[in-house]
């Protein structure tokens, strides 16, 4: 067996160095094999390189736009919109990547995040109301359909997506509330979204009521 004469400890197995004092051990290995596998060096993945390049590209694009804007100031501060656009894309992209393992959850996050980003854009460009008139109701309706398709294609258990579908339906109902409060001027998308929400909720309640109740108990337990 190997031995470190400095620490006076024995070193079983094949150990090329001594962790305690970093001195070379003496003797011959006892042939009892290793205790830990040798690990390969951690490699940088292609997705990491790709996202680094895209991030680098976005920063360069933003920098060039600001520079051009400074040189040619005639059109106002248009470069701020470019930067805000790039930031919006990155926020959304980050969430898509972070939640990629859970598709129904990802879809719901997209509804919320894209609606919020749209609302911010709408507000900062004079609030024409397009974010509430079109974006929120259309996203809610599309998300309901998308979740149903994902659930069927991936053969998900109802318990895997019922909560997200329920929340999406509630968001659909919110657009109806917005019609009532007069915040929405184009009625058709919100009305359709409300209708779809009620249909989906009714379906869940009548056919999957128990699963719905169980999920509520689980998620909301105090």
């Amino acid at each position: 067996m190997l031995r470190c004469e400095h620490c006076r400890v024995d070193l079983p197995g094949k150990q090329s160095g001594q962790r305690l004092c970093q001195n070379k051990p003496v003797g011959v290995p006892d042939g009892s094999g290793g205790r830990f596998p040798l690990l390969s060096e951690s490699r940088i993945t292609i997705s990491r390189i790709l996202s680094a390049w895209v991030a680098f590209g976005s920063v360069c694009a933003a920098a060039i736009c600001v520079t051009l804007n400074l040189i040619l100031p005639a059109g106002g501060w248009w470069s701020l919109f470019v930067i805000a656009g790039i930031a919006s894309l990155w926020i959304d992209f980050a969430i898509v990547i972070k939640k990629r393992k859970n598709l129904p959850k990802n879809i719901l996050w997209q509804v919320v995040v894209v609606s919020l980003i749209a609302l911010l854009w709408d507000r900062s460009t004079g609030f024409h109301g397009w974010s509430l008139d079109y974006v929120l109701p259309i996203l809610c309706s599309c998300a309901m359909v998308a979740m149903t398709i994902v659930a069927k294609v991936r053969r998900l258990d109802i318990q895997d997506y019922i909560l997200y579908l329920m929340i999406d339906c509630i968001l659909g109902i919110v657009s109806f509330v917005l019609i009532l409060t007069g915040m929405v001027s184009i009625i058709i998308p919100s009305a359709l979204s409300f209708c779809a929400s009620i249909v989906f909720l009714a379906f869940l309640l009548f056919f999957e009521g128990k699963a719905m109740w169980a999920e509520i108990q689980r998620r909301f337990h105090l």
Binding site: D10, G17, C21, S32, R35, I158, Q159, H221
Partner: protein, 421 residues
């Protein structure tokens, strides 16, 4: 009809682990059983499948509710695999719900890695022993049974904190001190360095008895002195504080295979309380005696259960709780120098014993942690640390060898590239 998934609340101690775990501090511990022969993968897989029937909670994934995390039954079936990852790699990822443990093998070693939210050392050891026993029973046709742990499934998944929380119990005040922290360069890629020392349990116990102390008290005093030797003069004003998890099953009749532990702290200021080993030992002994009383342990259970059961705190959304738990975790990090946990003696039926060389446990944390467990006459003392420097480990083991105790040392040095291999 479709099966309704079962779910379980997290026990009191488990609640801190999901929010405070990270790639740097994975809160994963590894249980090792070194056999006399190389491990047979397919047999290990069958042993694992059999064990999971007895410990169904291990088939859960951790999910977030609006107010609390919870365990949800999953349909995932774990596969044993040959070890390829660094020790105690992250297990819990909020965005990828998966099982909270993994079973790995390498040459003669069976390794079980578990996320701490699922169970504490003693709880996991019951699972691990059962799995190792089933493995050996099939491999070597052992007829004996594992009879010393006969808890029912209910008892195994019981929340013992809930059962023994007494609202009327007095909550002991804890004095918060800023402890000395060992600093230095970290190992690359958030890896941790493991130094395992194997000694004769009898020899160490004899030394401890010569000093009229228990094994834990003796080794904690030795650890404190080893840390002290490496302190710079200006750092000596800070006390060396060792956190010691206490297995509450020793004091309350619970057989749960989940978490049921409390922590006590032993602090020694080398500037004020003396620098001699005897003085440190006397302080450690006195701290143990003062803190390991039924009233104090009841208080430990009450301290956190009272917070958990406060209706106002219950109603705070989980995301906000996560924020406060992280803050509490950061604060707790400043309050100790190292941790020491004694898993105790591992026993196996007679026929299985001859195929096992040793059992060992270690844990990934941000501060150094010393874990010990014994099997037969082999006492395994493992020190895990994220730092490249192994000064206090060297001083600790050298102190033992200077007492005439022979020590075998194994480390994952080659794995971590932390030295001059």
């Amino acid at each position: 009809m479709r099966k309704r998934r079962q779910w379980n609340r997290l026990d009191n101690a488990a609640k801190i682990f999901p929010p405070t775990s990270s790639n740097r501090d994975t809160k994963v511990f590894r249980f090792v059983c070194e056999l006399t022969e190389p491990v047979d993968g397919p047999v290990l897989q069958r042993a694992l499948d059999r064990t999971l029937q007895e410990f169904p909670l291990y088939l859960s994934v951790l999910k977030k509710g609006l107010f609390w995390y919870y365990f949800e039954e999953s349909g995932i079936f774990p596969q044993v695999a040959e070890e390829t990852l660094p020790v105690c790699s992250p297990i819990y990822d909020a965005d990828r719900p998966g099982l909270l443990f993994r079973v790995l093998y390498f040459e003669r070693r069976i390794n079980l890695e578990v996320f701490h939210a699922l169970a504490d050392g003693t709880g996991v050891m019951q699972f691990f022993r059962t799995m190792v026993f089933y493995y050996l029973a099939e491999k070597y046709s052992i007829r004996e049974q594992l009879t010393d742990y006969d808890a029912s499934q209910d008892q195994k998944s019981q929340d013992a904190f809930y059962q023994y929380y007494d609202k009327a119990g007095a909550i002991p005040k804890i004095k918060r001190v800023r402890a000395y922290r060992i600093r230095g360069e970290r190992l690359p890629d958030n890896r941790i360095g493991i130094t395992e020392g194997f000694l004769s349990a009898e020899a160490v116990l004899q030394k401890a008895h010569e000093c009229k102390t228990t094994l834990s008290e003796f080794l904690i005093a030795l650890l404190m002195c080893s840390i002290h030797e490496g302190m710079a003069i200006r750092e000596k004003a800070r006390p060396v504080v060792i956190t010691v998890p206490v297995n509450l099953r020793r004091f309350f009749p619970a057989q749960t295979a989940r978490n049921f532990f409390g922590v006590i702290q032993v602090a020694h200021s080398f500037e004020k309380d003396g620098q001699e080993f005897e003085q440190v030992l006397a302080n450690v002994r006195e701290s143990f005696k003062r803190q390991l009383t039924p009233e104090n342990l009841n208080g430990i259970i009450s301290r956190f259960s009272a917070i958990e059961n406060n209706p106002l705190i219950k109603a705070i959304p989980l995301q906000a709780k996560i924020f406060f738990l992280r803050l509490a975790g950061l604060r707790a990090n400043r309050e100790d120098t190292a941790a020491f946990s004694n898993i105790g003696r591992v026993s196996m039926p007679q026929e299985a014993t001859k195929h096992i060389r040793l059992f060992d446990v270690f844990l990934c944390t941000r501060r150094p942690q010393l874990c010990l467990c014994s099997f037969g006459d082999t006492l395994a003392i493992s020190v895990s640390s994220p730092l490249v420097d192994t000064g206090f480990q060297r001083r600790f083991f050298r102190r033992l060898t200077e007492m005439g105790i022979s020590v075998q040392v194994v480390s994952n040095l080659e794995q971590t590239n932390g030295g001059d291999s």
